[in-house]
């Protein structure tokens, strides 16, 4: 059996038929071709597959795609506006917050969820937001610094 899935994916209405019980990660990658979403552990422990569903961070590998139907989903593919990178993307580059890059999509989305609801986070808030995301290369410090910097710059812009 196939199940209809309808999403507002990065602001665009999309629809597809997916296998019953398909997880959001597979549907995003295979049905909607969004390869910015990465699978790591497929059991909800590494965080690299993090996307935003209705603005909240979700582990797409353990999220039933069907349960998101009718909801909005945001991925890294929707972060940049034309040629302009999202402030988080620029900050990750400036702070060398990626090495192998595998955790980066999940880190960016976990950070976006944080900054969307708390534009002026403390260091503890940032640590809390990314504590479900595993990074093997950076030692986390450059990632924390990048998110705090993006928050500072974002706050300045809106002020």
């Amino acid at each position: 059996m196939k199940t209809p899935i309808q999403l507002r994916l990065n602001g665009e209405e999309v629809a597809a038929f997916a296998d019953d019980g398909a997880n959001l990660l597979d549907v995003l990658r295979e049905s909607f071709g969004d390869l910015t979403v990465k699978g790591g552990c497929w059991q909800g422990t590494c965080g690299t597959c993090t996307v935003l569903v209705g603005g909240n961070p979700r582990l797409s590998c353990v999220t039933l795609a069907e349960s998101c139907s009718g909801n909005s989903v945001e991925t890294v593919a929707g972060l940049r506006r034309g040629a302009d990178l999202h402030p988080l993307q620029s900050a990750f580059m400036e702070h060398f917050a990626a090495q192998c890059g595998y955790c980066t999509p999940g880190m960016l989305m976990a950070a976006k969820a944080l900054l969307d609801r708390n534009p002026n986070p403390t260091r503890e808030d940032v640590v809390d937001a990314i504590c479900g995301n595993i990074c093997r290369c950076t030692g986390y410090e450059p990632i924390i610094a990048a998110i705090l910097d993006a928050a500072r710059k974002g706050a300045r812009r809106s002020a």
Binding site: C41, Q43, T45, C46, F96, A98, Q99, C100, G101, V126, V127, D128, I130, C131, I134, R136, C137, T138, G139, Y140, E141, P142, I143, I144
Partner: protein, 341 residues
């Protein structure tokens, strides 16, 4: 029951590349007809920055803008040979190979330019911005692009170069067995402050302070990135990571990220790092390379800090709370026994 603070120190001498030599890497450099250069490698960029560093080395040696150099590490089936990305050998071995290849390519480029300008190649210099001119006469100039077009379509030359770097296998002294393990050493010292809870056995790393001497830092931001990430990995090896089973056999071992523990973003500590640059005689522009050594000193420094804090010498890794508690209990017994005696 209390928390005890301790400080540990470790120093390391790290040999760059495989011990005893016999450790080659090759590079090929060529231009296309628009004066852009490609570096072909089989060396892999794992995220450590191999592509950035070899790109810098090639551009600097050729004397062209870095934007005009592309590094292709695509395929070990088709690229020139490389031993691999390990043993902190990338910057030193591959960098030297790229430098040799770029030097040969530069020679052809300067000859081609000399032919176009009708001067001696020895009288020419690059400006690093995409042009070649006669020394002392910048108006007698030709762009690298025009040189490449001329070489390709008029002179029938390929602007290209080959490079290999090989530390020969070390000889063995038949009398003493003495060998020369390495030609190039990097050095580091790390101080780690910890807090040990003698009730739970938990070890918290409070602060790291490091000095690294790794030759010229070709790309200082990449060096810093390696040192910060590497010290996290060292701390992870010292206190968290193990494939061993908890109890009692391998079926009980860690199977996934729920059970294979690593420090998270809340477990890291402030880390002050000083980078000392003493250019290596046989390194590309004096570079050695951070690589593996950035994880190495943290393990002994943390073990020493725990000894300093609670007086137990733990020589099995990782130093889990259980091992700390067992060692403390063992020491308590021996203290009690010596008192009873």
């Amino acid at each position: 029951m209390a928390k005890h603070r301790g400080r540990g120190v470790a120093t390391i001498n790290y040999p760059i590349g495989m011990n005893l030599g016999g450790d080659p890497s090759q590079a090929l450099v060529h231009s296309n007809p628009t004066g852009k250069f490609t570096v072909s490698l089989s060396s892999i960029d794992l995220g450590q920055g191999m592509k950035s560093v070899t790109r810098q080395i090639c551009a600097e040696t050729l004397g062209v803008p870095i934007e005009d150099v592309y590094v292709d590490t695509a395929d070990s089936d088709t690229g020139p040979h490389c031993m691999g990305s390990f043993a902190s050998r990338g910057t030193h071995r591959v960098g030297n190979a790229v430098m040799a290849a770029a030097r040969e390519a530069r020679g052809v480029m300067m000859e081609a330019a000399a032919e176009e300008l009708e001067v001696d190649p020895g009288d020419l210099e690059t400006d690093g911005r995409g042009a070649i001119h006669v020394k002392g006469a910048p108006h007698r100039s030709i762009s690298v692009r025009d040189v490449a077009i001329a070489a390709q379509f008029r002179q029938g030359k390929t602007i290209s170069g080959r490079g290999i770097f090989l530390v020969p296998l070390s000889d063995v002294d038949p009398e003493t067995g003495e060998m020369s393990p390495a030609t190039c050493y990097a050095h580091a010292c790390q101080i780690v402050d910890v807090e040990v809870d003698d009730e739970t056995g938990d070890v918290t790393v409070l602060k790291m302070t490091s000095a690294y001497e790794l030759g010229r830092a070709i790309n200082p931001k990449l060096v810093e990135q390696q040192l910060v990430g590497g010290s996290w990995m060292g701390m992870s090896h010292a206190l968290y990571e193990t494939p061993e089973p908890y109890y009692p056999d391998t079926r009980e071992g860690p199977r996934d990220f729920n059970e294979y523990l690593m420090p998270g973003p809340g477990d890291i500590c402030p880390h002050d790092i000083i980078v000392l640059e003493r250019p290596a005689a046989d390194g590309p522009f004096g570079a050695k390379g951070p690589g593996e050594m950035c994880a190495n000193p943290s393990l002994p420094a943390i073990a020493n800090a725990i000894f300093n804090a609670v007086g137990v010498r733990i020589d099995e890794l990782p130093i889990t709370p259980e091992r700390v508690l067992r060692a403390l209990r063992e020491r308590g017994r021996s203290v009690a026994a010596s008192r009873a005696w």
